[in-house]
């Protein structure tokens, strides 16, 4: 039996730098893992807070369901904002962002008080996207939530450049359309600016803020090392005769794809809203009638509906509009899951409306819609497309509505000045 080793470390650090690196790595990894999980959990909390602000859920009932929540938690779940969402990754991020855009309804009849309460602007042709600048980088995400570009920009917090972008925590979110041919992001709405949320602001204020703030940052300058894409604010007009005329016929640096109408008093509402409308005709858009995958207009109108339990087929509206029903055996046979998006053609029977409300449709099953799609079609889209094929709403109709409103408006003024 040999004597036992009793040598102790002499003039040595107890742990080597390599061990330290190893431990720091493990620490970093476990921190990132727990951040990732925290993000996933926060995401769910944010979904709750969004639901609570939608009209069909009474916020008080929701609050009663979780009465013990103390202030800390409450503020935590509500403080989950797009900045935190900008750190979401992967499918979580896609799901979240897919629900963040304000989506216009299609104009199937002309709203009242167009000239007083609405703006009009020419929609640039291109991909609608959400642009988030934060933590020194800028990310654009298209409507289904997937990333379009990841780039440095002159937006607040949009590049890792010292000085110019203001405080480290500043971030901004813009509602844009990316216009391919001149590689420009055309900004149609401003959702957050330098950490300040504009969700609860009227369109009137948001548009004013957009026009005055965007240029200050240099975001409208030509591309450079720290600014990969140019931004440009889309001009907007009061929806009177001249405004409508300018938007419809005016010469703009981009290819137009229809007109957008914004109600001046409306807040930024995520999802479909009747307070923003889109309208198109052949002279202001190449794509009035939907094309198929080959870019051709199919003989029959195609629509995409979501399959729900018991074979119900609904639109993407909130609440969903039921359109038809699939036979249960058929669903089983074709292995369709509830939640699937399914493509149909509208047959010769067309759509039947009674008193302006949809009654029934002649649908022909085509197949499951392609994966990139996040939503079914909305009711207004289906109706607009149907009208475009049969009896479109014309620009003249819009103009005549406005001029009619103007006459009504002018009459009392004349009387008063008299």
């Amino acid at each position: 039996m040999a004597p036992h080793e009793i040598r102790r470390p002499f003039k040595r650090r107890p742990i080597s730098d390599q061990q330290k690196r190893r431990e720091l790595s493990l620490l970093r990894q476990s921190q990132h893992r727990s951040d990732a999980q925290q993000r996933a959990r926060n995401l769910a909390s944010s979904v709750i807070s969004l639901q609570s602000s939608s009209p069909d859920v009474d916020p008080e009932i929701l609050f009663e369901a979780v009465p013990e929540l103390d202030e800390g938690t409450e503020s935590e779940s509500s403080s989950f904002d797009v900045r935190q969402a900008s750190r979401l990754r992967g499918p979580e991020a896609r799901k979240w962002f897919a629900r963040q855009l304000m989506l216009p309804e299609w104009m199937i009849d002309v709203p009242d008080n167009l000239s007083r309460d609405w703006y009009v602007l020419a929609r640039p042709a291109g991909k609608r996207c959400f642009v988030v600048s934060s933590d020194g980088t800028t990310v654009s995400r298209v409507r289904n939530g997937s990333i379009l570009h990841h780039f440095p920009s002159a937006l607040p917090g949009g590049a890792r450049k010292k000085g110019a972008s203001g405080p480290a925590n500043s971030y901004s979110i813009l509602d844009c359309i990316f216009h391919e041919s001149d590689q420009t992001y055309y900004v149609i709405d401003m959702v957050c600016w330098r950490g300040y949320s504009l969700y609860e602001c009227t369109a009137e204020f948001r548009f004013f803020w957009l026009q005055s703030k965007l240029a200050e940052t240099g975001a409208c300058d030509p591309p450079s090392f720290y600014h990969k894409f140019r931004f440009s604010a889309v001009p907007f007009f009061n929806c009177d005769q001249s405004g409508l005329h300018s938007a419809y016929t005016g010469s703009l640096p981009y290819v137009k794809d229809g007109l957008l109408f914004y109600n001046k008093h409306a807040h930024y509402h995520t999802g479909n809203t009747p307070l923003v409308l889109i309208w198109k005709d052949e002279s202001c858009s190449q794509y009035v009638i939907d094309t198929d995958n080959n870019g051709e207009v199919p003989d029959q109108q195609h629509i995409v509906l979501e399959l729900q339990e018991e074979g119900k087929l609904v639109t993407s509206d909130d609440p969903p509009v039921p359109f038809s029903c699939l036979n249960a055996d058929f669903v089983k046979q074709s292995g369709l899951l509830s939640g699937s998006l399914i493509r149909f053609a509208i047959g010769d029977g067309g759509l039947n409306c009674v008193d302006g409300r949809f009654e029934k449709a002649d649908l022909q099953y085509i197949g499951v819609s392609n994966r990139a799609r996040a939503f079914a079609d909305s009711y207004s889209k289906i109706m607009f497309q149907y009208m475009a094929r049969h009896s479109p709403l014309k620009v003249e109709d819009l103009a005549s509505t406005i001029s009619h409103e103007n006459q009504q408006d002018k009459t009392p003024e004349v009387e008063m000045s008299d």
């Binding site: 009793i6 390599q18 790595s25 990132h32 959990r41 769910a44 938690t73 499918p91 020194g136």
Partner: protein
């Protein structure tokens, strides 16, 4: 047959390589074809006094190796094979072994002792060979003495091999009686006394009950203390080894004996042979270790909360102990700082002094200061060095308040000595002492800083100058710089080091390039200091760190260009690659985020290319470092890392297959997590391969168990990244998770180490569940997870009931409950309501002091409320 074995065993030791190789192969063949016959021949050979000593010794050794191995899985195999042998073979072998203990040849007896202990280690836990201990004990009363000696040695090895709980107390008592009697001065034979003393060292772990009995304990202690006075140096040394072991095993029983032990140890330290004196010092070092641990557990607040009370032996011994240790400091060896393996009484004494300072704190200062003041300026280098070493040793333990004035006064002196002292030894210790000053008395927690605007420049200049000194001194200077930088870790935006940053970096690089940099681990120290300087740097100097990138990359590039190198050169080359990869890893973490990321990432392609080439060299350390660096790079690059995957993937797979160098495997598993978070759904194409490897790793009994929990966590990372696409792995991963969960649900009765492992395993499993639930959230495939919910809830309930989870598991577990509720919602509302976890466990977490647990619990509550309200 037996004749053949003799010749084979002799041939196996032949100097002729061909003969040897042939014999080894024949032995191996014999073992494979007829294990029972093979082992029996070996035992017969060992027992046969007519055979040559050399063949008998080797027979014993081969037999021993057929019973035990270092690697766990191999050991397990050997044990199973032994247990499967037929009873008659086993009894014949046992009989041969016991017979050998009577052999007149000492080496043969000793070999047999070890083999018997190995067999006992296998059989006693199985309740086999019950007569072994009785028959050994009967030997004790036999003459001649050499049988007694061999038997005591066997008992010693047996106690080392076998766990105390498989030996009956009655037998334990008899073993201890035999051993202690053998140690007694009345035993006339020194060989017997030495064997008995060494056997007691092994048997101390069996003596729990006997140490609780005052009379028995007194007897054992008296015999041990007497043995420290034996005229035979080996017996004295062995007796002190027993005292060292008693110091840590039976600390709380020592109050009665400590005065006597002090006297014995003091005499040994001053007068005895160095081998004995070292053990005597070690006794006090062990007492300090115990008291430091106890006082740490006290934590200052809850005095008396520890299982074992502190008896303050060190504090009471201070007046005698400190002078004793200070004397040893003057017994330095000339070149001890140049010899990596040196260990002498001066080194042991200084180390013990440092432990005393940690154990008693402020109280040590007045006992040491007069020695320092008297000797620090003496003409004899030994006195100056001893004084400096004493000073350096007491810097950890006493409060900053107590030391500050002394250190401030000494600083100028130290800097001066570092520049002007003619002795290499003094400079070495001075530089080391400066490092200790910076380690313990410099940093954001210290109220009055040691390093000020007035002296910062001088300190850095002197350290940089010292880095040009002899390698051992320069190494200590690098160490001092390491701690100097570390003290500014959380300094904020402006670091006092900024004006010197460039110069420091330059100097460290020059040191690393010195021709003699491989001596005294100087090069390692230089890169470690460089790493710390970079880690603790601020944004002010980020451009300079950026400039370092191409420099380190070029160095790494150069190591890869090396042509034909000798083994030794290659080894040094690999070590350097490891250091450079480590350095790049630190730089990546520094520059990979705001505001330097864009500039830094321009080097990423090239850097990745270099890392991939490092994988081409065969060196575990370099692989591990390169892998860690790649993990950091993946995090910095985010989704852009995808472009490296096609080339990197095969090395990732290689890393996951590296069972032998399990650190490489562990690090690679961590990097898979980094990559999942960086690539998200883009990792999907690689997941089939990665999952296959991870599942293989989990099923392997060769892989070190510490790697398994992180593999489970990694499942979670993958699921979170690829979402519902994880579907195809569910049928493989879920059963693995489920059976691991069942294993880890109960750990009762296990020791601390096992409980810790069980908790890390639980944490891994729970992180996997969290990742999977979160990955499937809002997917139409969520329903696939519903069948697993009952088991997972049951798992949560059972680990809650077990009451032995740590905070980390608690947080993860309650999080899983929330994730389950959130993802599966109303489908599992009823199940959740039935679980204990959703009530008691949840409430316990909600009222936790740990805010991260509370936060996770609130989230879980939120999710549950929704799941059951729908």
């Amino acid at each position: 047959m037996s004749m053949e074995v003799t010749q084979l065993l002799i041939n196996a030791q032949s100097i002729d390589g061909t003969v040897r190789k042939h014999a080894e192969e024949s032995l191996k063949q014999f073992q494979e074809q007829n294990l029972a016959g093979f082992l029996l021949s070996l035992a017969g050979e060992l027992a046969n006094d007519e055979k040559p000593v050399d063949s008998r010794k080797l027979a014993g050794l081969v037999l021993k190796n057929a019973l035990d191995a270092k690697e766990q899985h191999r050991k397990y195999e050997l044990v199973q094979r032994w247990l499967a042998l037929d009873m008659s073979t086993k009894s014949q072998i046992r009989a041969f072994l016991l017979k050998t203990l009577s052999s007149p040849v000492p080496d043969v007896r000793s070999t047999a002792s070890q083999v018997i202990a190995k067999v006992a280690g296998i059989e006693l836990p199985q309740k086999q060979w019950p007569e072994l201990i009785v028959s050994l004990l009967s030997n004790i009363h036999q003459l001649p003495a050499h049988v007694k000696q061999a038997t005591l040695e066997t008992l010693g090895y047996l106690c080392e091999e076998v766990s105390p709980d498989v030996v009956e107390q009655e037998h334990v008592n008899k073993i201890l009686t035999a051993v202690v009697q053998g140690m007694n001065a009345a035993e006339g034979n020194n060989d017997v006394r030495l064997a008995a003393t060494r056997a007691l060292y092994m048997a101390l772990g069996f003596a729990q009950a006997n140490f609780n009995n005052d009379m028995e304990r007194d007897y054992i202690m008296r015999v041990v203390c007497e043995a420290t006075l034996s005229p035979e140096v080996k017996i004295r040394q062995a007796a002190f080894e027993c005292l060292v072991s008693i110091a840590s095993t039976y600390y709380e029983k020592l109050a009665h004996y400590i005065q006597d032990i002090f006297n014995i140890t003091a005499k040994a330290v001053r007068e005895d042979d160095e081998s004995v004196a070292l053990q005597a010092i070690e006794f006090w070092s062990s007492i300090c270790d115990e008291e430091i641990d106890i006082l740490e557990e006290y934590g200052g607040e809850f005095a008396g909360d520890s299982d074992v009370p502190c008896f303050y032996f060190t504090k009471q011994a201070l007046p005698g102990l400190v002078p004793l240790l200070l004397e040893t400091l003057l017994k330095q060896e000339e070149d001890q700082d140049l010899d990596e393996g040196a260990w002498n009484i001066a080194m042991a004494g200084g180390t013990c002094l440092g432990l005393v300072a940690k154990a008693v704190g402020d109280d040590i200062v007045p006992h040491v200061m007069p020695f320092i003041e008297e000797k620090i300026s003496k003409p004899d280098w030994r006195e100056r060095e001893a004084a400096t070493y004493a000073f350096g040793s007491i810097l950890e333990g006493p409060s900053a308040d107590r030391l500050m004035a002394i250190v401030n006064a000494a600083l100028t002196f130290m800097l001066n000595a570092l520049t002007n002292d003619p002795s290499n030894h003094v400079k070495d210790t001075t530089a080391w002492t400066l490092g200790r000053i910076f380690e313990f008395l410099h940093g954001s927690t210290i109220e009055t800083p040691i390093i000020t605007q007035a002296n910062c420049q001088q300190i850095i200049t002197v350290l940089i100058q010292t880095m040009k000194d002899a390698p051992n001194v320069a190494e200590k200077a690098c160490g001092a710089l390491y701690f100097l930088a570390q003290g500014y870790e959380d300094i904020g935006p402006n670091s006092p080091l900024t004006p010197y940053f460039q110069e420091i970096i330059q100097s460290l690089l020059s040191v690393a390039h010195r021709e003699d940099a491989t001596e005294s681990r100087l090069r390692t120290a230089a890169y470690e200091a460089l790493n710390e300087v970079v880690r603790c740097s601020t944004d002010e100097t980020s451009t300079m760190v950026l400039q370092l990138v191409p420099v380190i990359m070029l160095e790494l590039h150069n190591t890869l260009e090396g042509e034909k190198l000798s083994m030794d050169e290659r080894e040094k080359q690999n070590e350097l690659q490891g250091l450079l990869c480590g350095c790049l890893q630190v730089i990546i973490q520094k520059l990979g985020s705001e505001p330097t990321k864009y500039m830094f990432m321009q080097s990423a392609d090239q850097m990745m290319g270099l890392f991939l080439r490092v994988f081409g060299c065969r060196s575990a350390t370099a692989h591990e470092e390169a892998m860690l660096a790649i993990g950091a790079l993946a995090y910095a690059a985010g989704p852009d890392f995808a472009k490296y995957m096609p080339e990197f993937y095969k090395y990732l797979e290689m890393g996951l297959q590296n069972f032998e160098e399990y650190q490489v495997c562990a690090v690679t598993v961590g990097v898979v997590g980094d990559i999942c978070r960086a690539l998200e759904d883009k990792v999907l194409p690689y997941c089939d391969g990665i999952m296959t490897q991870l599942l293989k790793d989990l099923s392997s009994n060769q892989l070190h168990r510490s790697v398994k929990p992180p593999i489970f966590s990694c499942f979670g990372d993958i699921a979170l990244a690829i979402g519902e696409d994880f579907e195809k792995y569910l049928r493989y991963s879920m059963p693995m998770l489920q059976s691991a969960a069942e294993l880890s649900a109960h750990s009762s009765g296990a020791d601390d180490e096992m409980t810790e492992y069980t908790n890390s395993l639980r944490n891994g499993i729970l992180e996997a569940y969290s990742g999977i639930f979160q990955g499937f959230k809002n997917s139409p495939k969520t329903q696939l997870l519903i069948p697993f919910a009952p088991h997972i809830l049951q798992f949560l309930d059972s680990i809650y009931m077990e009451k032995d989870m740590d905070e980390v598991v608690m947080k993860t577990a309650i999080g899983v409950l929330g994730d389950l509720a959130d993802t599966l919602g109303s489908h599992v509302g009823g199940l959740i309501q039935q679980s204990v976890s959703s009530k008691e466990f949840l409430n316990e977490c909600l009222s936790s002091d740990d805010h991260t647990i509370k936060e996770a619990a609130e989230w879980a509550k939120h999710a549950i409320t929704r799941a059951i309200s729908v």
